[in-house]
Symmetry: C2
Subunit: 161 residues, 2 copies
DNA sequence: GCCAGCATACTCGGATAGATTATGTCCGAGTTAGTTTGG
DNA sequence: CCAAACTAACTCGGACATAATCTATCCGAGTATGCTGGC
């Protein structure tokens, strides 16, 4: 049960995008250069964010990615779901059906108490993620590290590769 | 981020083991036959549970697996950790170190606010899992399906392959 | 009849292949900016 | 001088290899059982 490392990249990239001049797009190459990541693979993750409606993409010169909506309306769960997909980590294969007294028309994902308990735990996880937005993180970072916004803009301006 | 299906098998097997006569060991083959699972692969999962101290194993004739301690002292988190390993789903690779202002001696797993937020969500998940024991599930199942304990014993007695 | 020794069958345990998913890379379709050319 | 069309470079987007992990299988080490033979 390992989460794709693309989640970490996507979250940092979204956060960085909150600090660029409004309306300016940033290319996948520059976002990747920020942390020394493989550009083509980060591009793949950003595509997933664009498909999920979190980012908007523009082709051609002066193209790139930008946030598709306000950071207040982007939760951590949105980003995780965009990268990892919507299916749950614990998938109930309904093995009870093959046990004694297993019926055919029963949905064991809701009947099996093991499935229910695992689902409840996963729901708690999702609720925690849904309660925090990119804007929350942005505010927390700016409180703890006031120079970060300017440093981010500078790096994007200088590393113009 | 998909969890191994061995977790589902392990949880059901632990629950079934609470219903066998006390002191009697059940072989991996019979536990597998219960749901039509591949015996050798289930054996592998049960080995992991034994290494984690959840089950105790006995070789030779009349050998097999049994619970190593009372069901009240086995949490869902214990089982999940035994199968999936102790590492977290979201692993912070500390990519901030390669960004602007990245220091060498800093532990970004505790400094990076993204890592902290993801860790908090995962903690909520773990707390939910740690709060439920195999004994809880056993009691809930017996309340909702009173015939299950006897049906389980019967199946173990009959399917003597 | 009783006990010690032994052969036997059975179980776990780890080492070994195959399948699926995640990771990483590459090139083409589309688009915008800048340039050029004609009026 | 201005405008329109064209060229060219740049970007995303998805198709294509590679690596890691999960899934599945097999055979050997060890052990308790039941039998055999002797006392």
């Amino acid at each position: 049960m390992r989460m794709s490392e693309g989640v970490e990249w996507a979250l940092h990239s979204c956060l960085n995008l909150t600090w660029v001049e409004s309306g300016e797009a940033v290319t996948a190459t520059r976002l990747a250069a920020f942390y020394g990541l493989p550009a083509a693979y980060l591009n793949k993750q950003l595509q997933a964010l664009a498909r999920a409606g979190i980012l908007s993409s523009t082709s051609g010169p002066k193209g790139g990615f930008r946030l598709a909506r306000e950071p207040e309306r982007i939760t951590l769960l949105d980003v995780v779901t965009a990268i990892e997909g919507p299916e749950e980590a614990f998938r109930c294969d309904e093995i009870l059906r093959r046990g004694p007294g297993g019926k055919e028309g029963v949905d064991y994902r809701t009947t099996c108490l093991i499935s229910r308990a695992m689902g409840a735990a996963e729901l708690a996880w999702r609720q925690e993620l849904a309660a925090r937005t990119i804007a929350d993180l942005k505010a927390d970072v700016e409180r703890g590290f006031p120079h970060t916004p300017q440093a981010t803009r500078n790096r994007f301006a200088n590393a113009r590769s």
